[in-house]
Amino acid sequence: MERPAAEPGAQPRANGCSGAAHGALRNGYVRGLPAPDTQIHHIVHNGGLYKKPFNEAFEETPMLVAVLTYVGYGVLTLFGYLRDFLRQWKIEKCQNATEREEQKDFVPLYQDFENFYTRNLYMRIRDSWNRPICSVPGAKVDMMERVSHDYNWTFMYTGRVIKDIINMGSYNYLGFAQNTGACQEAAAKVLSQYGAGVCSTRQEMGNLDKHEELEKLIARFLGVESAMAYGMGFATNSMNIPALVGKGCLILSDELNHASLVLGARLSGATIRIFKHNNMQSLEKLLKDAIVHGQPRTRRPWKKILILVEGIYSMEGSIVRLPEVIALKKKYKSYLYLDEAHSIGALGPSGRGVVEYFGLNPEDVDVMMGTFTKSFGAAGGYIGGKKELIDYLRTYSHSAVYAASLSPPVVEQIITSMKCIMGEDGSTFGKECVQQLAENTRYFRRRLKEMGFIIYGNEDSPVVPLMLYMPAKIGAFGREMLKRNIGVVVVGFPATPIIESRARFCLSAAHTKEILDTALKEISEVGDLLQLKYSRHRLVPLLDRPFDETTYEETED
């Protein structure tokens, strides 16, 4: 199938939304043309599996920056050793909590070296994390002020509240974190009727009629036969993957999968092999080798192969190449487990997730998992799929037998917000939110790239990682942005590779254009102050890089 080149006069489609007339969206957005020097990568091979351009880019780290980052970490490590030495010889006061006197001759609970990073590097910039807030986590949030007089070892709350901080850190993609409105009223009603807790597991007395209603709604929303809801997203993954695969099965998991998927895979007892992040050639090679060679040493054929991927990877901002994964899955007869924690509600013209974003059939994905924390403003997780799968999970899932079910007001919040997104409550509020998020994403990413920052990930993902690299800039960025009343999330090692620390912005439909403009202005200012504008507009086109044999890797757990 021939792919047409992008005509200069074509309107770029944000997130697959066909959109109303020009400028009919909220907040006076005007659709612009892509900047002339951006490269739009058309997937020429693969027979046109992609219906629209898939723009994903990870600019290479500039050499000077990488060297300086290593130097920075080296200096910090040296100072760390020096401080440890001083602490050991009691020259410096040790502010760590210590073991009880009676238990001093027990085997030490922590190895000293394990906590080296925590003691000497993390402690210095600890004030960028665990910031306490005291209002609803919407577009603007109130934060409790805290100060530290001993370099972040202890915090004291001054009692003052910093009001109206622009919130670019909460996972509030569709803006449903509200304390007024239809969702909150419905939840309040259910709370007064049912109470806050459930006090029982799902298989015993914990299955309320609300849960049944919720599950039918989820199945309708996703377009699958049947669904099941659980009390915690993390527990959904870690309790259900062991129910699906066991010894003698193979799990192929992406390099950058979330901790819950990794834990679930480990608890299952299956063999785990890792393929390079979003790299379909690596996945295909692993699949081929697995089927041809069978289990290691015994050469017996594998019982099942399960591919674990996520919809949007929250640290990279990349979207999974779902059409290719599904094509591979069908060719090699394996099963696909898709974790849509960040992509449900955030992608797709009507918010149904990454499957709708690519225009694929939800029945092709064997297990669709997701969470309600991000786009629905509630808590918990779900799994959707064929009826046999859900029936099996109802009987054998550890979570259903041993863990509590969802709390009733939370269930009501999910039901109301899901109906709103689907448009079943009679308004177009949900659809507008989805479109607003898509516009915000495009606008924000484009502006940041124009300013010269290095931004990772896909054009359409509402998770925007901005590269910082150097350890000192992690703390500085967080603090400077807070001074300017913007709350951002910074991440470093070990959540990311050691030199690739970043600031991560999570866009929301609740952000108006004014809020985004203010934020962008401040980000630009801080970027100039800290010299963060590393980009040389030299995007490495992901697909033009030839696959070379050395990218194949095998790790067995």
Binding site: S135, P137, A177, G197, F234, K303, A379, Y402, P408, P409
Partner: protein, 421 residues
């Protein structure tokens, strides 16, 4: 000048040649072999991992065509007992409507009856009006609310420990706490009747698990002695292997308590740390509901970590761990269920705080509960064919068949008939 330099150079050369002649033969041969090897490596082509088989591409295609995986899930028979859940309409309080039949509720863990308490509901409503429902983030990224901090402080004060940490799901509490401390190579002594969450935590930690018979201190001491003699064989390894005992205050699987005073004695004798799981005993045992440490009158600092879930007595959702700061603070960075999961919705935290308030203000509800438990225990003793398992003051009891019918399926069917009636 140049001649002198030339002579100097020549002099060094002569020395070299002399050294060459004087060197032992094996030395020269070894050096020669090494040089040849280096030359060979330099000029050979870099090899990838050698192909492990000699299959032709066509054979590979055939193998791929032929392979048939198992179905993703095995089929479940239609009349599997767990397939159709009982539907509860309305709140699961003392009177509960199951499958449209009104019953008295002996199945929920609502020990203190706080599930439909008006004050608790009002506190949750107030929190809902202020914060909405969800927290939209993990604790590290703007998911820490002042209610969480308040709840942690209150729990620490109530249990009289230094610090407490909250998880958003009861199951995840102990399942994340154990792997945070116990890693591969460490040793954990755990009771046979430990609950499922503990088992999953142990599996995730990859430590060596040693099971001892339920509540049998003699068996535990035997295992500890064995471990001690092993340690003496390898003292260097023993110095870095951590040891833990994991027990529950009130066992869910059997309904009896663990002999905590003996455990404390064993702890100091063999230098093992104790992790206590108090899901059923928190808010039930003890004069003020502080759990099994108050019941036995033990200093709370003797226990390294107490973990409980708030889904039983506190009628909320979630769990907490409390203990000394030295122990608890570590989980803030290495507890998987804490760092990588969204925090507890504020309305549930507010409900838990209010429930704690009620517990602190009315310490006589614990006496009431224990009185009722004893009454039921006495009343159920005399039923023929059924055996009552559990302590007299335990609110969770097991009714077991006195004699088995022969097969597990028939037993289950018979018990189900008792339940359904």
């Amino acid at each position: 000048m140049a001649a002198a330099v030339g002579v100097g150079q020549q002099w060094v050369l002569v020395e070299m040649v002399q050294a060459f002649y004087e060197a032992p033969a094996y030395h020269l041969i070894l050096e020669g072999i090494l040089i040849l090897w280096i030359i060979r490596l330099l000029f050979s082509k870099t090899y990838k991992l050698q192909e492990r088989s000699d299959l032709t591409p066509k054979e590979k295609e055939e193998l791929i065509e032929e392979w048939q995986p198992e179905p993703l899930v095995p089929p479940v028979s239609k009349d599997h007992p767990a397939l159709n859940y009982n539907i509860v309409s309305g709140p699961p309080t003392h009177k509960i409507t199951v499958n449209d039949k009104e019953c008295i509720n002996f199945a929920s863990f609502n020990f203190l009856g706080l599930l439909d308490n008006e004050k608790v509901k009002n506190a949750a409503q107030a929190s809902l009006k202020k914060y909405g429902v969800g927290t939209c983030g993990p604790r590290g990224f703007y998911g820490t609310f002042d209610v969480h901090l308040e709840l942690e402080e209150r729990l620490a004060k109530f249990m009289r420990t230094e610090e407490a940490i909250i998880y958003s799901y009861g199951f995840a509490t102990i399942a994340s706490a154990i792997p945070a401390y116990s890693k591969r190579g460490d040793i954990v002594f755990v009771d046979e009747a430990a609950c499922f969450a503990i088992q999953k935590g142990l599996q995730a930690s990859r430590s060596n698990i040693k099971l001892f018979k339920h509540n049998d201190m003699v068996d535990l001491e035997r295992l500890l002695k064995e471990q001690e003699s092993e340690d003496q064989k390898n003292p260097r390894k023993a110095r870095v292997t951590r040891r833990f005992i994991v027990v529950e205050g009130l066992y869910m699987n059997t309904g009896d308590v663990c002999p905590l005073p003996e455990l404390i004695k064993l702890k100091y004798k063999y230098k093992v740390r104790i992790f206590l799981e108090e899901s059923l005993s928190f808010g039930v045992l003890g004069e003020h509901g502080r759990g099994i440490t108050e019941h036995f009158g033990i200093n709370i600092d003797d226990i390294d970590l107490i973990s409980a879930n708030m889904e039983n007595s506190l009628a909320s959702i979630g769990g907490f761990c409390c203990g000394r700061s030295f122990v608890i603070d570590h989980q803030r960075l290495s507890g998987q269920g804490y760092c990588f999961s969204a925090s507890l919705p504020p309305l549930l935290a507010a409900a838990a705080i209010e429930a704690l308030n009620i517990m602190e203000d009315n310490p006589d509800i614990f006496q009431t509960l224990q009185g009722k438990c004893k009454r039921i225990h006495r009343a159920l003793q005399g039923i023929s064919g059924l055996k009552l398992v559990g302590e007299s003051f335990s609110p969770a009891l097991h009714l077991q068949l006195e004699e088995s019918c022969g097969s597990r399926e028939n037993d289950v069917k018979l018990l189900k008939r008792v339940v359904d009636y």
